[in-house]
C-alpha cells in the first residue's frame, strides 16, 4: 500500500487526471513526467542537473576512496573508455526514441572494424576510403534492421537479435581471412589513439562533437521533431502526414552508422580487431541510454543525457579496475553500482519534483 502510494506521487502528472490519461498506458517505468516537453531547454537543464549531481557525487566518493581516481591521467582513461559507448549510444538513443531497440550494435562494431581493417591490410585500400566502406556496411545493416522492422512489422528485439547473430558470423568470417586477428597499424588510426585535441583524447573530442551535432539536429530540425513525434504517438504522426516509415528506417541506419564509428574507435584504441570485439556492447550501450534517463517506451529523452549515463558507466568500470576488485566480483559490483546510480537519480528527481 505504502509503495503504491509512493509511486503514485512520484509519477506526478502521469497517473493524473484526464490530462494524463492521453496515453496513460505507459505507467511504471516511465520517468516522472515533468511539466515540460522533453525537447525544451528547461527540461534539458532540469533533467541534466540530477544526472550531473550523480556524476559529481560518484566522482567525489570514488576520488575520496581512491586517490588515483581523480588524477588527470585517469580522467583521460575514463574519457577514452567513454568514447566508444558514448558514440554508439547516440544512435541507440535515437532508435530507442522511436520506440525501437538495436541489439546488433556490438556485431556491427566488429563488422566495421574487421572490414575496414581487412581492406587496408590485405588490399592496401586508402584508409579514408576503407573507413567509408566500413561505415557504409554498418549503415547497410541498419537499413536491413529498419526495413525488416518497418515493412514486415517484426518486433525490433527479434530482428536485431537476428542480425546480432548473423552479422557477428559475417564479421568473424572476414576475420578468418586474416587468421582471426586484424592489426590496424595505419597512421590514421595511430593518430586517433595517441593524439589530443583541445586537451582531449581525439576519440573523446570526436564524441563531444558528434553529440553537439546530433543534439542540434534533434532540437532544431524537423527531423528531430519527427523522431520525437513518432516515439510519442506513431499513429498521430502518420495522421500529421509525416513520412513515418522513412524516418524510422533512417534512424535505424543512423544506429548502424554510429555503431560502425564505435567499432572504428575500438580498432584505433586497441590497434587490433579480434573475434570478440564488441561482444556485449549492446548491453553497455542500452544501460548508458537508460541511465541517462531516456524512456524505453514513450519517446521521452534527450541525446545529451546519454552522455551522462555513459560517464556514470565508465566511471564505475574504471573505479572497479583501479581498485583492483577481483575479476570475479567485478561483474556483480558493476550491476549493483548501476542499480545504485539509477535509484539515486530517481530519488533526486522525486525530491526535486516534490
Amino acid at each position: 500500500m505504502a509503495s503504491d502510494w509512493g509511486s503514485r506521487v512520484d509519477r506526478g502528472g502521469r497517473v493524473a487526471a484526464e490530462g494524463a490519461t492521453i496515453v496513460g498506458d505507459h505507467p511504471s517505468g516511465a520517468r516522472a513526467a515533468g511539466e515540460r516537453s522533453p525537447l525544451s531547454l528547461a527540461s534539458a537543464l532540469a533533467g541534466g542537473l540530477s544526472g550531473v549531481v550523480v556524476v559529481v557525487a560518484l566522482a567525489l566518493v570514488f576520488g575520496l576512496t581512491s586517490p588515483y581516481f581523480l588524477t588527470p591521467d585517469n580522467a583521460f582513461n575514463i574519457l577514452r573508455q567513454m568514447s566508444v559507448i558514448g558514440v554508439v549510444g547516440i544512435g541507440a538513443t535515437l532508435v530507442i526514441l522511436i520506440g525501437g531497440i538495436d541489439l546488433s550494435v556490438g556485431s556491427v562494431a566488429l563488422l566495421t572494424g574487421g572490414f575496414t581493417g581487412t581492406l587496408i591490410l590485405n588490399y592496401g585500400v586508402n584508409p579514408w576510403l576503407a573507413i567509408v566502406a566500413g561505415l557504409a556496411a554498418a549503415a547497410f545493416v541498419g537499413l536491413v534492421n529498419g526495413t525488416l522492422v518497418e515493412l514486415l512489422q517484426i518486433s525490433p528485439v527479434i530482428v536485431t537479435l537476428g542480425t546480432l547473430i548473423v552479422v557477428r558470423g559475417i564479421g568473424q568470417a572476414i576475420l578468418w581471412l586474416n587468421n582471426s586477428w586484424v592489426y590496424v597499424e595505419d597512421p590514421l588510426f595511430a593518430y586517433i589513439a595517441a593524439e589530443r585535441w583541445f586537451f582531449l583524447p581525439v576519440s573523446a573530442a570526436l564524441m563531444f562533437i558528434l553529440y553537439l551535432i546530433v543534439s542540434m539536429v534533434m532540437t532544431q530540425t524537423s527531423f528531430g521533431r519527427a523522431v520525437y513525434a513518432i516515439g510519442n504517438n506513431q499513429r498521430a504522426a502518420v495522421l500529421c502526414g509525416l513520412p513515418v516509415n522513412r524516418v524510422k528506417v533512417l534512424v535505424y541506419m543512423l544506429g548502424g552508422l554510429f555503431a560502425g564509428i564505435g567499432g572504428l574507435l575500438v580498432a584505433a584504441r586497441t590497434g587490433v580487431v579480434n573475434p570478440t570485439a564488441g561482444l556485449g556492447l549492446e548491453f553497455q550501450v542500452i544501460t548508458a541510454v537508460v541511465l541517462g534517463g531516456t524512456s524505453l517506451r514513450d519517446g521521452i529523452g534527450r541525446v545529451e543525457k546519454t552522455l551522462v549515463g555513459t560517464a556514470i558507466l565508465a566511471m564505475v568500470l574504471n573505479y572497479l579496475t583501479i581498485r583492483g576488485v577481483p575479476d570475479t566480483w567485478q561483474t556483480s559490483v558493476t550491476g549493483l553500482m548501476i542499480l545504485a546510480a539509477v535509484v539515486l537519480d530517481r530519488l533526486l528527481r522525486r525530491t526535486r519534483e516534490g
Partner: protein, 517 residues
C-alpha cells in the same frame, strides 16, 4: 415520484449532504488548478459542475476519486471527514467515476472490463460464467441489449464503449456517481437513454455529479449547478427556470456572442468546386456517396453514430481501408492513399480520436501545433526558426483561448477541452484549402465554441471549403450551407440550409428517408 423528491429535500435540512468538499486547493507546477473550492451534493439530486475548459472541474473530481491528493481541504461523506488516497478507497466509499477519457482495457472482454478488480470467485480464482451473467444483467438494466458481453472492448464503437464504461461504474452500486463529460461521444438517442437512467438512479437517492459543456442537457436534467472559474468557486445555484444563456453568462462572466453564421454569408452556387467526390464506397461501411464541396462553403455531415460519416471523412484523407470511387480536386482526379498525399492535395482531417490519433501527450503545445507546418518555419533550409514558430503558436493560443501556462507545457497537462483546441489549431495553422473536421468542438466550452464557429465561418469566407462531421444537430444546423445526412452508409438526403429544420433532420437521421425525398 413527486412526493419522494420532497422527502429528499426535507431530509437535506436535517441530514448532512451526501458529499461535501471544503476549501479544496490543488496546485500543479505553475498552475493553481483549484483555489479553496467548496462543493456539496445531496443524495437524490443531479448536480452539474460547470466551467470553461481548464476551470478545474476534472481536477476536483479526480481528487474526489482518489487520483490525486488535495493540497488543502477536507472531504466529508455523510458528514464524516474522510481521506481518499487511492481510487480503490474511493470505490470502497461508494464513489464511482466515469472519467473524461475512456479507460476500458481494449483486449479484455466487455464483461471482464465491467468487473475488473471485483472478479467473481473466491478472491483469487475467477468464476467467468458468473461475470458474464452479471455483466449481461447490468447491461440489460441499462437497456443495452445489443452489446455482446464477450466481445473485446476494442471492437465496440466509441459510443458503446462509453456505455460499457458507465455500466462498469454503476455495477459498483455507488452512492455518489461522478460523470465527467459522459455525453461527449454520445448522440441524441444514447444521451436520452442515459438521462432516463440517471433520473431513475436519482429517485433511488444517489448523489450524481454531472459535467458537460452542453447546456441544453444541464438545464433540462440537473437540479443544481456549481460554477467554477479559473479554479475558484463562483456560485452554486438551483437550475430550475435558468436558461442556457443565463448559465453561459454566469460561467464566462460576460455575454456570449451569437455563434452561428448568418443567412447572408451563404455562398453562391457558382463558386469553384474544390473537392468533388463520386461514387465513394468504403468496404461495407459507406456505399456510393457523391457530393461536391465549393469554395467558401461549409458542408455539415450528420447521421446516427456509425452511419458511415466518419469513414467517409477518413477516406478523403487516405486512411480508410478498402476505399473506392473517384475524388477530384479542382477538377483533376487525384489518388489519395495516405495522409501525406492528402495534405499535399491541400486536405486535412481532424478525427474524433483525440487521444489515439491526435495528441503527442509528452510534447509541448508548440510542438503539437506546428508539426505538420514545420516547412514554413524553416530558416536557411535546415534549422527551425524558433522565434517565428513561437509567435505563431502564441497567436493561436490567444485566438482559441487555450488555457496553458506556456507554449512549452506538455499537452498531457492540459485540460481535455484545451487539448482539443490544440489539435484544432494544428490544422488551422497549416492553412490548407479543404478542412475536414470530425466532432471539432467535442469537450469545448460554449464560449470557445462560439469563437471556433466564428473562425470556421471566417475561413470559409476567405475561400476555404470546410466539411464538419458532427452528431450535434445545433452545430450542424448553425454552421452548414448544406447538410448531408447519412444513413446505413448511404447518403440519405441532402438538405439546403434554408430548408433544414431540426425535426426534419432527425426524421431522416433515424429513418433513412424522409418526407421530402
Amino acid at each position: 415520484m413527486h412526493g419522494k423528491t420532497r422527502v429528499a429535500s426535507n431530509q437535506s435540512l436535517t441530514v448532512p449532504p451526501a458529499l461535501e468538499m471544503r476549501g479544496i486547493s490543488k496546485r500543479f507546477p505553475g498552475v493553481v488548478a483549484l483555489d479553496r473550492v467548496d462543493f456539496s451534493v445531496r443524495g437524490g439530486e443531479i448536480h452539474s459542475l460547470i466551467g470553461q475548459n481548464g476551470a478545474g472541474k476534472s481536477t476536483l473530481m479526480n481528487i474526489l476519486s482518489g487520483v490525486y491528493p488535495p493540497d488543502e481541504g477536507q472531504i466529508l461523506i455523510d458528514g464524516k471527514a474522510v481521506t481518499i488516497g487511492h481510487p480503490r478507497e474511493a470505490l470502497r466509499r461508494g464513489i464511482g467515476t466515469v472519467y473524461q477519457e475512456l479507460s476500458l482495457l481494449p483486449n479484455l472482454s466487455v464483461a471482464d472490463n465491467i468487473f475488473l478488480g471485483r472478479e467473481a470467485g473466491n478472491g483469487f480464482v475467477i468464476d467467468e460464467r458468473v461475470i458474464v451473467d452479471r455483466a449481461r444483467a447490468v447491461l440489460d438494466l441499462l437497456g443495452e441489449t445489443a452489446i455482446d458481453v464477450t466481445a473485446r472492448a476494442r471492437n465496440l464503437p466509441l459510443a458503446q464503449q462509453q456505455i460499457v464504461e458507465i455500466a462498469k461504474v454503476l455495477s459498483h452500486e455507488p452512492r455518489i456517481l461522478i460523470l465527467d463529460e459522459p455525453t461527449a461521444p454520445l448522440a441524441a438517442e444514447e444521451t436520452r437513454r442515459l438521462f432516463a437512467i440517471l433520473h431513475e438512479l436519482k429517485t433511488r437517492g444517489l448523489a450524481i455529479i454531472f459535467i458537460s459543456h452542453r447546456f441544453q442537457e444541464i438545464v433540462a436534467h440537473c437540479d443544481r449547478g456549481t460554477i467554477l472559474r479559473n479554479g475558484r468557486l463562483v456560485l452554486t445555484l438551483p437550475l430550475a427556470g435558468v436558461t442556457e444563456e443565463e448559465l453561459a453568462e454566469r460561467m464566462i462572466g460576460q455575454q456570449v456572442e451569437g455563434c452561428y453564421r448568418t443567412e447572408d454569408q451563404t455562398r453562391p452556387d457558382s463558386a469553384e468546386v474544390l473537392l468533388e467526390v463520386n461514387g465513394l464506397s468504403v468496404g461495407d461501411r459507406v456505399h456510393d456517396v457523391s457530393f461536391a464541396l465549393r469554395r467558401g462553403e461549409i458542408i455539415g455531415v450528420t447521421g446516427l453514430l456509425g452511419a458511415g460519416q466518419n469513414e467517409l471523412a477518413r477516406a478523403l484523407f487516405g486512411i480508410a481501408p478498402k476505399a473506392a470511387g473517384t475524388i477530384r480536386r479542382r477538377g483533376r482526379e487525384v489518388r489519395i492513399g495516405s495522409p501525406a498525399e492528402a495534405i499535399d492535395q491541400g486536405i486535412c482531417l481532424l478525427t474524433e480520436h483525440r487521444k489515439q490519433e491526435g495528441l503527442f501527450p509528452d510534447l509541448s503545445v508548440k510542438e503539437n501545433m506546428t508539426l505538420p507546418s514545420l516547412g514554413v518555419f524553416r530558416r536557411g533550409g535546415v534549422f527551425l526558426d524558433n522565434g517565428r514558430e513561437r509567435d505563431a503558436v502564441r497567436r493561436f493560443i490567444d485566438a482559441l483561448h487555450i488555457v496553458v501556462r506556456s507554449a512549452g507545457s506538455r499537452v498531457r497537462t492540459l485540460s481535455g477541452g484545451n487539448q482539443q483546441k490544440v489539435i484544432l489549431a494544428r490544422w488551422l495553422m497549416r492553412d490548407l484549402e479543404v478542412l475536414i473536421f470530425i466532432e471539432p468542438t467535442r469537450g469545448i466550452d460554449v464560449g470557445a465554441k462560439a469563437e471556433i464557429y466564428g473562425d470556421l465561418v471566417r475561413l470559409a469566407g476567405e475561400g476555404k471549403g470546410i466539411i464538419v462531421v458532427s452528431t450535434e444537430l445545433p452545430e450542424i444546423l448553425g454552421l452548414s450551407d448544406r447538410i448531408l445526412v447519412m444513413h446505413g452508409g448511404r447518403l440519405a438526403r441532402v438538405v439546403e440550409r434554408e430548408a433544414a429544420t431540426e425535426e426534419g433532420l432527425l426524421a431522416t437521421i433515424q429513418g433513412g428517408h424522409a418526407d421530402g425525398v
